[in-house]
Structures are given as C-alpha cells and as structure tokens.
Symmetry: C2
Subunit: 236 residues, 2 copies
C-alpha cells in the first residue's frame, strides 16, 4: 500500500526525501487559492517565483500578456499589478494572461517540491477534484502545508486533513496524516469557525482581508485540479 | 495571556527559542511512562543520559544504589539491569534506587530542554497532576513530543493534546496546540484504539510489548508530577 504523508511547513520539506512522491502543495490563505482561482478564471498559466526581483525581471524580459501578483507581509508589492487576494483574479482581469506570482510561504513550498514526480496545487476551492485525481495514483503522496513563516498554520492543515481523510482507504496514512485527518473530521461541520482561532487567519482579518477568507473557505466552488511543471502551474 | 505551544518531535526543538518556557516532555511509549512509574514506585531519582556509554560510565563511578535501564531499537541494552518496560520498574525493584536511563527519543527530548526555566516529564499516567501543576504557571509552556526517530508519533501528540485541551482557557494555544487539542478531544473516547493506528505503537505490538502499551494507556493511575533539574528527574 502506498503511503500518504503530510508535512507541516514548507521549511520542513526535505526535497530529496520526497522526490519519489507526488506532492500536493497547500496554502489556503491565500497563494494556492489564488493560483486555483486564476487558472479556473482563464489565466493561461501561473508562474510561481521566489522573489520580487524574479517577478520584475520577468517583466523586463516579456513585453505583454502577463500580470505580476503576490504579497509581502500579506499586502500588495510596489509596482505589481495584483495583490494576493483571489477576489482580484476575475475572468475580466486574468483570462488569457500569464500570472507571475510571488508570495511568502506558498511559492517557497512549491519550489521545495521541484524534484517530485508530479506536483499539484490544492486549496479548499478544488479539494474534490484533487482527491479524485490523487485517488488514481500508484505512488507515495506527500501533502506539503505551506504554513506561515515557518510555523504550522491551521487552515492549511485542515485542507490537508480533508484530502488525507478522503484517501485513507487507498493509502497508508503516516501518524501525522492520521492526526490531521482526525482533526479535519471532527471540525468539518464548522471548518471556518475552527480555523478562525488560527494565528494567520486572525492576522488577515486584522489587516482587512475578511472577504478573502470567506472566498477561500467556500468549499462549494469545486474548481479543477492544478498541476505544476517546475514553477509553472496549469489546469490538470 | 501566556502561550502554550506543542513541538512535534525532539528534533524540532530549538533549545534557545524555548529557554524562557516551562517545558513538558512526553514520550508515552515508553520513556516518560517509565520515568513516571519508577519515581511513583519509590525510585529516588531518574538520571536521563544520552548514550549507553554514559550509563556504563555511571556504573564505573558509583558502587551501588542504582540500576541501569533503557532501550535501543525498543529492546534491552546488553549489560543493563532493566529494559524500557514500565512493568519492570516495580516498588520491589526500584525503591530507594537511582535509575540511570537511556532511550532513543525520550532522553534526547529531555536534553534539548536543559535550558528551560523548568522541565516536567509527562505521560498518560500523570496527566491530571501535570495539568494541575501547569495551570498555576505564569509563563509560556512548550510541550515537547519526543516522537519516534525524528517522526511525529500519534500517542505523544494525544497526550500533549490532552494537556493543551485542559489548559486552553488559561493559555493562548498556538495553531499546532489547537490542532492537537482538537484531535485529542475527538479521539478521547477511544484513545487507545485511535493510537493503535500509529507506526511506533504497531512496531511495539509486533515486538511483543502489548502489555507495556496497556500499562502506558491506563489513564486511571493518576501518578504525581515529575520535575527535572538538568538530567535528573524527581517527583515534584
């Protein structure tokens, strides 16, 4: 039986150790929600880069057809087109465009999974499609919670636990995956209320991003699978 | 409000970062269950050492009044008096004695907490007394799950979650402490059954230590608090 593991933070990823896995990166608030939304709304691709400089360099090398998005300290980056709010990534804004995205935790997690067999991007917006996709896999799965500046973040772990819980009969869950599945299962009737106790959730509320949180916790959206090659994410 | 955090493994401890905390080390299967039991059964002190050599050196430097205990790969160490089974640490065997203990994960976790304001040792055998003791504290608390060779271990996390859940109104729980408290709370009606899915639990069963597990999960024992100074643990 193949194994399903969950890692608590981007920082805890050992790229070599998970290179035989299919990885699934989760940063519910908000990077992977943004990526999922942008692609579902017609963006051609999302290119995740680690630094602001890399994003600005992309602009220097490309004439048009792209938008720079992302955040530092949860806020918009000077000179960028879009912040890290999924509400901005509407069909009118993103259709047919490449999005160059840099965020604090999500893009780090993605870059740590570069050597994996395959890498998915998941959020609460496309969990069902992700579960369906992963259930066909015949290899180990490593779900990477991005976390918040090196700390475990509740909302990522809930999304990871939701996936692990759904796949528990097809994969052998590690102790940490068992713990997250149990936590999700007991909190799923009031997911947002439970997550609202978390540090990063509360910081976003304080910064005025409550509407983003509402959007990111709307599990009814049922968006498609997102698959990455290197730093480039596309609909699966 | 003071903070209560939980760390998933001994390896994840940053000794400097937690030096202002009261630490509480947990290795349910079986080091901290052994320490708690030995002291409750009349051992004068338990000296936790990192290596087999340090334990044997203790023997060379001391004539009598002590016993060497511990494990490597869960089994008794050659030349030692006792293995890592709490069932061996009866009043007849340990009363009035110093126990010199070395184990794979538990003693490492203890040594990582050497700089903390104070360090407790907890197991499912003395959780109530530990909760009562910690509830009087006016400082940050860091619960350190020993884990199993660098991996998160379900039974340690359940014990940590039990303590966090009981202290949630007196301390601000970090995201990881919230997760563990929620997991414990939803599994507490069938604690042993839930823990039995864990890797280390199953390995001990395979190695013939099922009776030890029964002993370590008997939450009715209500043993006293254990406090450490450096590597030396005594009843609090």
């Amino acid at each position: 039986m193949w194994q399903l593991d969950i890692l608590p933070t981007a920082q805890s990823v050992d790229s070599e150790q998970i290179s035989n896995s299919t990885a699934c990166v989760i940063d519910v608030l908000r990077a992977t929600s943004v990526i999922t939304t942008a692609l579902a709304n017609g963006a051609t691709q999302v290119v995740a880069v680690a630094t602001t400089d890399e994003a600005l360099q992309y602009r220097r090398q490309n004439a048009s057809g792209f938008l720079l998005g992302g955040e530092r300290n949860a806020d918009k980056i000077d000179g960028f087109d879009l912040d890290n709010s999924p509400l901005r990534y509407t069909p009118e804004v993103v259709a047919g465009k490449t999005i160059v995205l840099t965020t604090t935790n999500g893009t780090l997690a993605l870059s740590k999974c570069r050597r994996c067999r395959q890498t998915l991007v998941a959020s609460l917006l496309n969990t069902s499609a992700t579960i369906e996709y992963l259930s066909q896999h015949s290899c180990d799965i490593t779900i990477v919670c991005a976390g918040t500046e090196g700390r475990f973040s509740l909302e990522d772990a809930l999304c990871a636990g939701m996936i692990a819980d759904a796949l528990r009969h097809r994969f052998r869950l590690t102790d940490f995956a068992l713990a997250m599945a149990q936590m999700y299962n007991s909190a799923c009737a009031e997911l947002k209320h439970f997550a609202s106790q978390g540090f990063h959730y509360q910081r976003l509320v304080q910064k005025g991003y409550a509407a983003d949180i509402d959007f990111c916790f709307d599990t009814s959206k049922q968006l498609p699978v997102v698959v990455c090659e290197g730093e480039t994410c596309r609909l699966g």
